[in-house]
Subunit: 228 residues, 2 copies
Amino acid sequence: MAEGAQILIVDDEPQIRRFLRISLEANGYCIHEAATGHDAILKTAQLRPDLIILDMGLPDSDGLDVVRRLREWTKTPVIILSVRDSDQDKVDALDAGADDYLTKPFSMDELMARIRTAQRHAQPQQEEIVFTSGRLKVDLSRRVVTINGEPVKLTRTEYALLRLLIQHAGKVLTHQQILREVWGPEYIHETHYLRVYFAQLRQKIEENPALPEIIITEPGVGYRLVRV
Amino acid sequence: MAEGAQILIVDDEPQIRRFLRISLEANGYCIHEAATGHDAILKTAQLRPDLIILDMGLPDSDGLDVVRRLREWTKTPVIILSVRDSDQDKVDALDAGADDYLTKPFSMDELMARIRTAQRHAQPQQEEIVFTSGRLKVDLSRRVVTINGEPVKLTRTEYALLRLLIQHAGKVLTHQQILREVWGPEYIHETHYLRVYFAQLRQKIEENPALPEIIITEPGVGYRLVRV
DNA sequence: GGGATGTATCAAAAAAACATCAAAAAAAAC
DNA sequence: GTTTTTTTTGATGTTTTTTTGATACATCCC
């Protein structure tokens, strides 16, 4: 998340944009630029950046207005840069919905730290991703598999296999696809592995492994996980 | 939410606490006070304030340590007040987990605006200070571990390991994740450390270390703390 | 029906991963 | 500056998982 985060720089002076771009890209961020308030709102809607660095002195509109306009529909963190150091300016910007306010000239280190802080704030609580098919339940965020609520212990490879099937639930995965994804490209001819591992997996998650209901064999092609 | 929000003021100078109290109470906040770092952590656990205003210059401990200690178990917003204006101080404080940093002397209006901003960022969530799993109890605010009520002494690393597992209770943590968080990114290949330390930890908290019930090994993947 | 191909299952051998003990080195406490 | 605690390193035995091999079953096509 922190690596490669998208940042939109909004400033009318090209040399400041360039300076920020170089510094931030050196720290692994992915940079977009906008020169006007209008452009900032447009690009935010278009690119959905993870963070916005907004200069207050824009030619076409007041920085405050830009923040207010943005806050009408997005909570993307906004860090204000401004030459104005008065209390009132800071209060107005923060109350308009900005997340932080830095006075020029500012230290790049401090900006970087405040970007990290803003990103922490933006993090939504991670929702749990659970796949369900009949009696089978797979909590992908916890790496926990249950059958009728009973926890099932899977080995690393068994779990990798199941997860791959879940990611393509309903679709047929060919032998080669499975072998390449789970074991690696050099294993694509080891079809015997599939026999052994699907048997093991079925033993653990199917009610009657001889009449599988969750993992279906497509003879001559591959395997498929039934989506319920 | 904003009205009547509880704020904990941490400063060793009574006159500053008094000044802040009067100003903030005039704005409808409910104020609590602490004079030391130790007291700050205690009162935070006790009173569960909505926000903490923390002076960096405390007599008993470094302000940074206080922030780090707090961040071990709570996300309550922390606004730092400090006489020190260097970049490094700001970066350190923010990276330790502080939400904002104001240099003394500061404007009351700005502080007020930054309090409002911090409150917007606050995610309302009931954090558990005491984690329980079977016979194990861990008071995260006091760093006290007990098993059947009996205090258990853990080394710094053992505790860091246990705390990491608790923060992700129920989830599988991979070897790399654990090594990176506890020892640092340069240790991600030292899987042997995990063997040694998990053995030690189990020796101390498991009834029968050979048949662990709290810390489960997921072979080839990592470890998981069972949530009861 | 009968061979050919593809599949399922069981069980062993081999490999990898893990637990544990203990000594050496480093760090912390006194 | 010495003692104590903690961390790091090394060696050894155990468990778990993966790989390999053997065998049986099913289905398709001739």
